[in-house]
Structure formats: C-alpha cells, structure tokens
Subunit: 339 residues, 2 copies
C-alpha cells in the first residue's frame, strides 16, 4: 500500500533529495522553492510544495547551520540549581530574551559541582553553541576563557569572574545586605546575629561584608559568637538559629544571608524567641504572611537573566574590537513586611 513498503511510520526524516525525487526535480530546485526564490516556475513550485507536504519534509537546521558556518542558534545556560526559584526565574529571563532573538536555550544543572561544570561547558562548546551564560560554582574559571582557542562568548550570572575579563551581571549583594541590616538596626538592637553560607561562596561573603559595614556605621560591635556560616538547608539553618537564640545573652536580631537561612531562623525564633527581629537577603513568596515583622533585601532574578542574555547578544554579535568586559549590578531594595 504505502510507497515505502513500511507499514506504519517513516523510519527516517525525509530530506531534500526525497522531496526532489517525489517532485521529479533536482534538490537545487527544492532549495530554491524553500527560499522563495522567484526564479522558479509556478508549476514546478506547486509540484515541489505538494511533495513537501506529502512527505512532511522539514529543513534540517543542523545541516543548514553546518553549511552556513556553524551558527547553531543555540545558547547554553549552566546554572547551579534549578530547584532554587532564583535560578528558574533567572532561566526564564534568559529564555525570554533569547527566544525574542531566535535563539533556543540548552539548560544544564551543575549541582554546584565545579567538575561537572567543566564537563558541561566542554560539551556545550563541542555542540557549537553560539554562546553561554554560566553561574560558576568554583573559583577557577580557566575553562571559561573565551579567548582560549575554541573559546565561546561567555557571560557570568550572579558571580563575578576571577582572573578573566568576562562580562557579568550581579546583584548588589553588598549594598542590599548593608541597607537591610541598617533597617534592622534602626530598631535599636545591639546584639545582632548572622546566618549564612561559607565565605567561599562569593555572594555570601559580599553579604557578610555589607552586614559588617552596617554594624560599624551604627556603632554596633560584631560578635563572632553570633556568626554562623555553614547552613545550606532550612533545617540546618533552624538548628543554627536555635543555637544562637539559646545562648546566655542571645542576639535580639538576626540577619540571614539567604532565604533558606531566613526560613530556618523564622522557624527557630517562632518557637524559642518570638520577639527576635528578623531580616534577610532574598525575597520569597509568602514573606508577608509569616505573621512577624520581616525585612528583606529583594531583587528581580528574571531581570538578572534578561540582562545577562542582553550582554551575551552584544558579545556574540560585535566581535572584532574585543569589547571591554562589562559588569552590571542589579540593585536590591529593602522591603518591610508587617507583623
């Protein structure tokens, strides 16, 4: 019955040659029809289009791009943890701008593993993606060098480059932490705790710096026993907060360097010391319904993604006079949620 001899489904995608045969013309003519070249008689065009339709032919973009010189129309996005709403919003921002420019996004997740990141970056560049946006998980960025032979345009997200002249988009971690801490100190606190991640995480160390400066400016002493910086999960943060609040002279206010720490702290204090004042970096859904006063340093992760993609577009197009690397800082604003 069927022309193929195959009973139910085509095993192979039709090619231009298949279309050409079906329409009894040369592949060249098919190509012309698909490019809407006017120098084709309308009868042959109709025959070709009929064949295209009958076979369900679609141009092979891969072969096309190979011929045209390796523009894949794909950009790579390497994030550390897509489960974090921050990064999914970030990805969405990237995708929006990329899509508007005819580019698709290949998404990959590193789980904060530098080795995995290195492998993924290699692989993406072997696929001849046109550019990459990377949230680097380690301090060594040598595998990202766009000037290295075979290098690819790169923009870093959320963390600055180390030792390489790369574009990047950052949150104002320092300023946001400083302002939020200042707002917290406006309550007149003199014993303030800090919950965060190890200083090896760049954002966290910046936030700690902002915290310290705000204390200094308010003339409040920093007590190292009030500082805990190794909580990566909500339960760990709750544990650490509970420890602080159980000291003989506990802090009366807490600043948390990210939302997981803020949430852990909230859980601990609502049980142990409900009147503790709370502030943190990162806004989160439901911050307003916790039922306690809360100050957060908020920013727009989607905006961050959009900006990163815009930087990448600029970097991808304009190549020859190597552009000065740009560092764009997205502001963080202080938001007060009422109790």
């Amino acid at each position: 019955m069927s022309v193929d001899g195959s009973a139910h489904a085509p095993r192979r995608m039709p090619t231009m040659r298949d279309v050409a045969e079906q329409a009894s013309v040369s592949p060249m003519t098919v190509s012309r029809v698909l490019h809407e070249d006017p120098r084709v008689s309308s009868t042959t065009r109709d025959r070709v289009l009929a064949a295209v339709d009958a076979l369900g032919y679609r141009r092979n973009e891969v072969a096309r791009n190979l011929r045209l010189g390796s523009k894949s129309g794909l950009i790579g996005l390497v994030v550390t943890n897509l489960a974090n709403p921050f990064y999914s919003q970030f990805a969405l921002g990237v995708e929006a701008i990329a899509g508007a420019n005819g580019l698709r996004v290949v998404l990959t997740n590193t789980d904060e593993d530098p080795e995995r990141e290195r492998v993924l970056v290699e692989e993406l560049s072997a696929r001849r993606i046109d550019g990459m946006i990377v949230v680097p998980s380690g301090a060594d960025h040598s595998h990202l060098d766009p000037l290295a032979p075979g290098g690819v345009p790169v923009v870093l997200g959320a963390r600055p480059p180390s030792g390489l002249p790369l574009d990047c988009v950052l949150v104002d971690d320092f300023g946001g932490a400083r302002s939020a801490t200042a707002a917290l100190l406006a309550g007149g606190h003199t014993r303030v705790g800090f919950l965060g991640l190890p200083p090896s995480v760049w954002t966290s160390s910046e936030r700690f710096r902002g915290f310290c400066v705000a204390l200094e400016e308010a003339g409040v002493r920093l007590e190292s026993r009030y500082v805990r910086v190794s909580q990566r999960t909500i339960p760990a943060a709750e544990e650490a907060a509970r420890a602080l609040l159980s000291l003989r002279r506990p802090p009366t206010a807490l600043f948390c360097a990210n939302s997981r720490n803020t949430l852990g702290a909230f859980r601990a204090m609502s049980q142990v010391a409900p009147s503790t004042a709370l502030a943190g970096f990162d806004d989160f859904e439901l911050a307003d319904v916790l039922g306690v006063p809360l100050i957060v340093a908020a920013y727009d992760p989607r905006e961050l993604g959009r900006t990163a993609m815009e930087l990448l577009l600029r970097r991808m197009s304009d190549e020859d006079p190597p552009l000065e690397p740009r560092r764009i800082v997205v502001p963080a604003t202080v938001v007060h949620y009422g109790g």
Copy 2:
C-alpha cells in the same frame, strides 16, 4: 607574530583539518586518534595530540552527528510556565535522567499559548532533536503526532493526549482531589466552596471531578454559587475567595484546585473568616507555617519529570514494533499541616 595574522583571538574554531595540517597527517588519522583507535603509531598519536592541544581543537559534534545519521543528542522540553515551581522541578527531573543518558535538554516556554507551542515544536523538530517532552497547552495535539511524516518521539507531561496514541505521565488529579476533599469533609462541613481554573484546563476539571465525587460520597450537596473557576493568580483567587466568604450563608470550608488559589484563599480567609477550613491541590513551601490547619494533596513534580524522561528513552530506543502507548499516573498523597 601569530600565524593567522590576527592579533588577539582565534576567529574560527579549529577543525580536524587544521589539526591534521599542524601534525602533518591526514584528517583521517586525527579522527582515529580521537577515537582511540589502536592502529595508530604512538609517535603519530603524540604529534596529533600535541597539535590538538596547541590549537585547542574540539570535535564538532554537529558535523559528527550529521555524518552519523542525525542523532543530535538533544531532547526538547516544552513547558507552559517555568516560573511555576511545579515546572521547574519537573524540568529538573527530566534533566537528571536525560543527563545520565548523555542527552541535553533544550528548554522552551509557551506561556500557555497553543500557537507558540506549535511553532516551538516545529522548530525543535527542524533541529533534529531526538525526542520531546511536552506539556500541551491546547486541546488540539495534531502537531505532536509522532507517526506523521517527520514526526518525533513525544511524551506528554501532566496532561493526557487527545486523539493521539501518545505516552504520558499524569498526576492523580482526580484521586488526590477526592481524598483531600474527603479529609476536609471529615470536619463535618456541609457548605463547601471550590476555587479553581476553567474546566478547559484538564487538570483542573479532573480535580473538580474528584471534589464533586467526594461531596457525593459524603452526602453533601454541591452548590454552584460556591464554585469559582477563573482565577489564575493569587490576587484573583483572593478576590474570589473573599466574594464567597462574604455571601449571606458562606461556605465553612474551601477546596482549592491549585496552590495559587490556595494562597489567595488563605489571604482572604485570614482577614474575613479565620475559622474557615482549607484544603487544596499542590503542596508548597511554607505550608506548615501559615498558622492555620491546612490539608493539601501533594505529589512529587520531579518524579513526574524523571518518569517522563524514562518513557521517552524507551520510546526513542525501541522503535520498530510501535509500542503500546503508556499512561503512567503518579499518586497524590494527602498531607495535614497543623494550625
């Protein structure tokens, strides 16, 4: 100075031919070295590897796949809204299994626009992706037919196929809604409201069906004035809930078909009628700290993604005896959060 004449950076990625020239061998030999073909003398191999290193050569996967027969190593993921944590978790599950099988994921977002979905699907298949996982936004799935000429293996996520024999993974929307509603009714309520999306959204209509059956089983009458099904955002849901709770004889319990409606309802009731009982589909972060008793139908979106990818792998490999389409339903469990 430099061999190219170019001053600062390579304009073009080195190819096998470049390496071959640099090492004074044929491209074929380079290929063999890269494939660790043993039939190469160690001296030539060293020369080739040195050239590879010097030039920073990386194999062009695109050309390679073209030669090998259009396996791109890429799968497409088409979701409706990545900003929804459900879909980012889903994507993460897909990505995990894909990555473990050497596949990368091209991520695209439709914003629930069927036309955009159609265009994206076309484009992905023109890129010769090896398969697709799609969360369809419309009822017409004709553009997804894998049996159509040029069709691609497809698995649907979260919504069932209409009129096509496609694999899909679903949440037990009906059962979850029924169980959660039953748990709600255990409180002895006789006036129960429903907040959700229009029945055109499949998941929502299933959840409504579960809700209705639970009412029936408990001998509770369904009152249509207690049903509101057009809230897509938290504020809209809050508004609708407020309207219900302001009726002369308001419902004493509310069932919400998704987390946005649950959150809106929570906001409304905490102001208007704090003693209203609340249940909803979808778990969410912080459900336990709202300070009111809450029943949710919970499931694991990441598991859903993993399962979808596993179905796709199976579909992609085993081609010839067209497999029976499979429908896998992931269970939803009822969780009680205390007040």
